[in-house]
């Protein structure tokens, strides 16, 4: 018989809160979490290897689009920027604006998707359905503008593949007006509802110092008071000349706690910011070409002759995304390709966020970083001292989370 009062709970690889596989190994003492370890070996698909050994650079654009279903603009965006820099290709001004608009449309859909998931995690399914119903407008707009709801296939080395015509611009304007009209409603639900506040205030706190030390990025870092946003910090696309400032929670209520609630504030305000950026970009969009080289055979030949390296950085909905590409003269595939998605940096901050918390808070805390990895099914609880194992299903964990919400509401 072991006297150690702690238990080990592996959460995942199919995870309670996330829609993608990752494993959290939690050591718990009763309900309190006292140790956290993360394992990510479930879905490494070797995308970089394919780009370095099998694909030509144009094929790699479509491959990079499939790094992530949600961020299917920012990965190819990063990659084409890195290739353009390595090969010395100049992008037409209009293409910079179109890229910016498409990237912002993606941010709106991604943040609303996240808000819905977060509501579901705390057992508030009415809000989940309401948010996702609102999200349909942006999905329809994306389909109208790019031809597809999900993989938009709009990026090309040296520009974009499709123009934003007057009709498409009008459709986007209709969608931005719709969100400005409905923004207050979503903000009211998420920021003033009592049960959401109870489950998210002072939960999963990440201090500013931890955010900086662990190199957190995106809304997670900003919610902890680090004003870091690639759109504001480094010039790319049309952002350098549009009005852009990193959003921190103190802009809304004058204080920074760094908890789940602050992450909600940051993402909601960013939806509004994206709407404003899209409107400004549409109003200031220059006319002209949309791609530097239309002939793909010529483009490939040019890339084959190129020799150099480049870095592409984009603020994805989840934070800084960076690609490094090196081209070697005489060879089609990349000599070197490194992709670093924002969640890569936002995994380590889970440890201070979860330490000291409760098991029922795991789904919402993990979901609050908006990890981009896909659907939880069950969790195995290992009771070390009694040497037995039992499975904790997603439904049970979800139920625990709902019970906690109800308990808090009764006590209030």
């Amino acid at each position: 018989m072991n006297d150690d009062p702690t238990f080990i709970i592996p959460v995942g690889p199919v995870h309670p809160a996330l829609k993608e596989p990752i494993q959290l190994v939690l050591t718990v003492d009763g309900e309190r979490i006292v140790g956290v370890d993360v394992k990510c070996s479930q879905v490494h698909r070797g995308i970089e290897w394919l780009g370095m050994n099998r694909n030509n650079p144009i094929q790699s654009i479509y491959l990079s689009e499939r790094v992530c279903g949600i961020c299917n603009v920012c990965h190819p965006y990063c990659m084409v920027m890195a290739v353009e820099e390595a090969a010395g290709i100049e992008v037409p001004e209009r293409a910079d604006y179109i890229r910016t608009i498409v990237a912002e449309l993606e941010r709106i859909h991604s943040h609303l998707l996240w808000a819905g998931v977060a509501a579901h995690e705390i057992g508030f399914d009415t809000v989940f359905h309401y948010t996702w119903a609102l999200r349909e407008e942006i999905m329809d707009t994306i389909e109208y503008v790019t031809g597809n709801r999900v993989t938009k296939a709009i990026m090309m080395i040296g520009g974009v593949r499709r123009d934003i015509t007057t009709e498409r611009a009008e459709r986007i304007k209709k969608a931005t007006a719709y969100y400005l009209e409905n923004f207050q409603k979503i903000a009211d639900i998420f920021l003033h509802d009592k049960s959401i506040k109870m489950r998210t205030r002072n939960v999963g706190i990440l201090t500013k110092e931890d955010a900086l030390k662990l190199c957190a990025v995106g809304p997670v870092a900003r919610a902890s008071g680090v004003p870091k946003d690639v759109r504001q910090d480094a010039p790319y696309g049309a952002y350098a000349e549009l009005d852009m400032k990193a959003i921190t929670p103190d802009m809304y209520n004058g204080e920074i706690v760094g908890d789940v609630y602050d992450r909600i504030i940051v993402r909601l305000l960013e939806v509004k910011q994206s709407v404003e950026l899209i409107n400004a970009a549409l109003d200031n969009m220059p006319s002209g070409e949309i791609v530097a080289e239309k002939n793909l055979v010529k483009l490939l030949a040019m890339l084959k002759r190129a020799d150099g390296e480049g870095i592409g950085r984009v603020e994805a909905p989840r934070g800084e995304d960076i690609h490094y590409v090196r081209l070697e003269k005489g060879k089609e595939p990349f000599m070197s390709w490194k992709i670093r998605a924002p969640t890569y940096n936002n995994v380590l901050p889970w440890i201070p966020m979860l330490l000291g918390g409760e098991i029922a808070d795991v789904p919402i805390v993990a979901a609050s970083t908006d990890p981009c990895m896909s659907c939880l099914n069950r969790v195995t609880v290992v009771d070390e001292s009694r040497n037995r194992e039992f499975a904790l299903t997603k439904e049970m964990m979800h139920e625990m989370s709902i019970r906690k919400t109800r308990r808090l509401m009764r006590n209030d």
Binding site: C40, S41, G46, E93, K228, D233, A234, P235, Y236, Y344
Partner: protein
């Protein structure tokens, strides 16, 4: 801090080859400028410490690796001056390591956020990070064969596992 100051700072302190790459964007052609410094291995740690003089909490993005044949080149991408409009720069410190001596000091004591990246390079390329406490696999499975490195272009690349990874799994179903 200006790009030129960082370049001069690096050049005056270390024996290194520094390159600045720029790219303009939008209608106003505002430039983004990235710094690449190719250093000797023994100066690397001091160069990171120098970057800390520019930025109290240096932001670390990731480590990239390139197989150069006899050497592996590691590229550490850092950024400085975040939070200032259009002022942030990527500073990439590049170090070439001979393949028969793939060792470099860990920076996880200076930047705890570099842990995942060092573990990734350790398993994918086979670099030993001196001082790295946690050397378990992060992206590769726990039973990955020793001495096989998927990101290298030499005999250590697991050619026999290509396109038939499932056959190499231990404990698979024998009847399949």
């Amino acid at each position: 801090m200006k790009v030129e100051d960082i370049v001069n700072g690096l050049k005056s302190r270390f024996e290194c080859d520094v390159k600045v790459q720029s790219r303009a964007c939008g209608t106003k052609k505002i430039e983004k400028r990235d710094i690449y410094a190719r250093l000797r291995r023994e100066d690397f740690r001091k160069a990171v410490e120098y970057l800390f003089e520019i930025q109290e909490y240096l932001h670390f993005s990731v480590i990239s690796a390139t197989d150069l044949g006899n050497d592996m080149e590691l590229l550490y991408h850092f950024t400085v001056d975040y939070g200032k409009r259009n002022e942030e720069k990527v500073v990439t410190l590049c170090v070439s390591l001979p393949k028969d001596d793939l060792k470099i000091e860990s920076i996880t004591d200076l930047i705890p956020g570099a842990l995942i990246s060092e573990r990734e390079i350790h398993e994918m390329v086979g670099v030993e990070f001196i001082g790295l406490k946690d050397t378990r696999h992060f992206f590769l499975p726990e039973d990955w064969p020793e001495g096989k490195y998927p990101w290298r272009r030499d005999e250590t690349f697991p050619e026999d596992m290509l396109n038939k990874l499932y056959e190499t799994w231990k404990g698979g179903d024998e009847n399949e």
